[in-house]
Subunit: 203 residues, 2 copies
DNA sequence: GCGAATTTTTGCGTGCCACGCATTTTCTGT
DNA sequence: ACAGAAAATGCGTGGCACGCAAAAATTCGC
């Protein structure tokens, strides 16, 4: 309905999420209390839980948003475009930093990878990230079902495509974060997507 | 090294996990306290946390074990067998109820599905299940890398296959649990595996 | 503009959970 | 049987999620 109120809410949510990430990167996950995150945003600790139902959720929120955008973009893109091209294009676009990162210290890909390693080392955070991915996967499957005219409740295809896309994204990210190959996400991600789309026969 | 001690530990761990599942199915997740689980097994609450580092972990443990068996079976199977046949065979075998279920009330597939729905409705449990799947995926990727002589640190293939296998399993399970099609897992799972192996072109 | 209604924030209190540490009990190897 | 190792337990602490009701802020009808 209204604009200002909801935008303010989203701003607070984003600020909390962002503060949680920053503080965790600085001090480590267990050293940051909910109270600290709330204080960094200038809000009461009780209010934090009005926005996020767990400490971990604030950190996974950015991941969730980006993943959800993928599904949204798939819905609003040109309907005629072949499915996998649309998916690849939408996935690649999520790699571009959004406007919210403007007033952050500029992060190279190395710092980003290091930060992610820290996050995923914490079991609670890993679990919450995975849950976020799963939520986005549901949206993605629904979008694909719409696009292909298939039945989400009975057809394997939409869910399989959605799950495979998330799998490819995660694998590409893992390899990037682990840094075995020096290749950037812009290279790894499309390659992984092409592979799952084409099939994975024994080489 | 020793036998009795470790077997007793595993027995306790399994008993705790089993008690957690049973109590949760009966009363619901939030109504069962760690104290209850411990009491059901005849062990101190403090001891529970020597086995599982969270309340949810006990429930995901059965899922974790089964998923890990898949990787183990892939390692110990005939090395000559084509990769995807070996995977499918190993995956199907995990559907057979293990010997630990012998003295449980016989569960039809419907009760099983209902139980799973309850579990996955709880965010904390869903997250923990996903984490268990992720851990197993790592093992699976390593097994596949070994089998194909590929490099886990630089090649996408092993991780992609592992992730796709887990994705297919999860999708098959979702569809089964949701029950849109009346088909059993023994049918859905191989079909999903065949699809991800062959590729997912727009139909 | 202004006051009423709705929404959001906050303070407070409760119950539970994860875990460190020291102690006791149980098991193993010789 | 005994010494040493490993596991179970008791106790205490800090923190987190959340229900509830009061207070503050914002929207909307007029």
């Amino acid at each position: 309905m209204s604009g200002l109120r909801e935008r303010k809410k989203e701003a607070t949510r984003a600020a909390l999420s962002w503060a949680a990430v920053r503080l965790t990167a600085e001090r480590g996950w267990s050293a940051v209390k909910v109270e600290d995150i709330a204080a960094a945003v200038g809000v009461s600790p009780r209010t934090y839980n009005n926005y996020f139902s767990s400490k971990a959720e604030a950190i996974a929120f950015r991941h969730l948003e980006r993943s959800l955008r993928l599904a949204a973009e798939l819905r609003h893109g040109p309907p005629g475009e072949p499915l996998w091209e649309a998916i690849t294009r939408a996935a690649l676009r999520q790699l571009e930093p959004g406007p919210e990162v403007e007033h952050m210290p500029p992060q190279g890909p190395d710092e980003w990878a290091a930060g992610l390693r820290v996050m995923l080392a914490e079991p609670a955070l890993e679990a919450e990230m995975l849950r976020a991915g799963k939520i986005a996967e549901k949206e993605l499957a629904a979008a694909i079902a719409d696009r292909t005219g298939m039945n989400l409740g009975t057809d394997l295809y939409p869910r399989l495509v959605a799950a495979s896309v998330m799998a490819a994204s995660n694998v590409a990210l893992e390899l990037f974060v682990q840094g075995g190959t020096g290749e950037p996400m812009e290279v790894l991600l499309p390659r992984a997507l092409r592979m799952v789309a084409a099939g994975l026969p024994t080489p």
